[in-house]
Amino acid sequence: MAGAVEKRLEGQPRAGRVLPAFALVGWRWVSRNPVATIVPILLPFMFLYFLWRISDPRYFPLEVVGAMLFTTQNIGSWCLSDSAYWRIEQRLQDLFVASPMGKVRYLFGIAFSNLIPAAPALAILAVILAWVTPVSLFGWLMLLAAILVIWVTFSAIGLAVSSRLVSPREVWPVGNLIFTTLGIISPLYYPITILPPVWQGVARFLPATYAALLVQDALGLRSAVPGEMALDAVLLLVSAVVGIGLALRLYRWRER
């Protein structure tokens, strides 16, 4: 018996693996609920259609970029929802806490599993963007980088907030409050210059604003002051670091 016990102790993996587990979770959600993939594709288009109806057609390429960034930002609300539901209703987080996985891997796993349903929407919007405006290699790289950073930042925000919720009924209003408000304030769908100065000032504190300005600059959709792109990139990265730091600090892995 002593040998069996020691063998069992020695044989346990000391670190978990994120991608095999959460890729399955994310893929199965999408494959068994195709609507969950179709809706994120349709939603930006419905919104773009609305904007196209009411705004200057010149803004359309900018609006497509905005739709990509908003779709990515919205992953944060899905992360908030999943994380809260798994923890509060299904108690699945307990399984992962009492395992070698670790907090960082778990949070990354949730963010990754929610990137999967958003990916087709982003791909289709990218095709449309290429159709409505020429995009250089540099432009694509900046767009991809901005999407990745926004994905990380807003997933982190969603996860940080989710750990403070005590009831699944709080998920919708809190998620709505945070992500819709952030969507309003950041000038994703129009040039920042048409906003009132006070609003511009507030918007400049938000990571989605830096991402939008950076990509608009890279794609030549706005004319920026020299050096502004570099500044936006730096601020975007800083906000990602802050977001990740907040998530790691605020996310309760062990209850108190």
Binding site: W29, N33, V35, A36, I38, V39, L42, L43, M46, F47, Y49, F50, L51, R53, I54, S55, D56, Y59, S81, D82, Y85, E89, P168, R169, E170, W172, P173, V174, N176, L177, T180, T181, G183, I184, Y189, Y190, I194, L195
Partner: protein
């Protein structure tokens, strides 16, 4: 069952639902955020159509109540199974459905009234348009609450619901001319806009308020469609409530 008895308990259940919703005042507050987003976009990009967008915001707010009914009914059934307590009681399924729908409507009235006040300030109009508005809002409430309740019975977990809820909200609330004028819709598609409950309601109110010009045919089509949809879906909602209670 006698008609009066059939609806017994509606008031009490409605009051219960209001209390439940008021506990979640944050949901009530944030329930107007999407409308606020769209209004802000209109204000930034096309300020001249703001009065139409405000009426659209009122219609959309009432339409969203159907989504709240969907979420509430699904949550109570799936996560708590509390519907079974009520179905296995003297309260009829239709009283349950009506009580929940009315309770949520009343609980979400405050933010709707705020938008109404803004509308009065930005685009004041006479009593007749207000009468048309109230009638249309009640019709939209009937349509959306019945639709929401019906959809809530189709799913087994909450996560599966949100894509459908989101699709309906956007298909009926953002794509049609609810926040923008009917005349921006291509001629060949206007009939569809006048048939959909949200855009037909908005068009009728805009027409009554003089914000848009509607022909007699447009008014007939929009008014007739909305009335038929409101009555038919309400009756369907009651029928489905009884059927869902038997299968619960």
């Amino acid at each position: 069952m006698a008609f009066g008895l059939r609806w017994a308990g509606t008031g009490v259940f409605c009051a219960t639902e209001i209390r439940v919703q008021f506990h979640e005042w944050l949901a009530i507050l944030t329930g107007t955020l999407v409308q606020a987003v769209l209004l802000i976009f209109v204000w930034v990009l096309a300020r001249d159509i703001l009065p139409i967008a405000l009426i659209g915001a009122l219609v959309y707010s009432v339409f969203l109540i159907g989504q709240r009914v969907l979420n509430e009914a699904a949550y109570v059934r799936i996560d708590h199974k509390l519907n079974e307590l009520y179905h296995a009681s003297p309260m009829s399924p239709e009283a349950y459905f009506l009580g929940m729908s009315t309770g949520i409507f009343l609980a979400y009235l405050p933010p709707i009234l705020v938008i109404a006040v803004v509308t009065i300030v930005v685009a004041p109009f006479g009593l007749l348009p207000w009468g048309v508005l109230i009638a249309c809002l009640l019709a939209v409430w009937s349509v959306s609450a019945s639709l929401g309740y019906f959809i809530s019975t189709l799913f087994k977990d909450m996560k599966t619901i949100w894509p459908y809820s989101s699709l309906i909200t956007n298909l009926l609330g953002i794509v049609p001319p609810v926040f923008y004028p009917l005349h921006l819709v291509p001629e060949g598609w206007r009939w569809l806009a006048l048939v959909l409950p949200t855009s037909s309601a908005t068009a009728l109110v805009n027409g009554a308020a003089g914000l848009e010009v509607l022909s007699g045919e447009d008014v007939l089509l929009a008014g007739g469609s909305l009335a038929v949809e409101a009555i038919a879906l309400f009756i369907f909602g009651i029928y489905w409530a009884r059927r869902a209670a038997r299968e619960a």
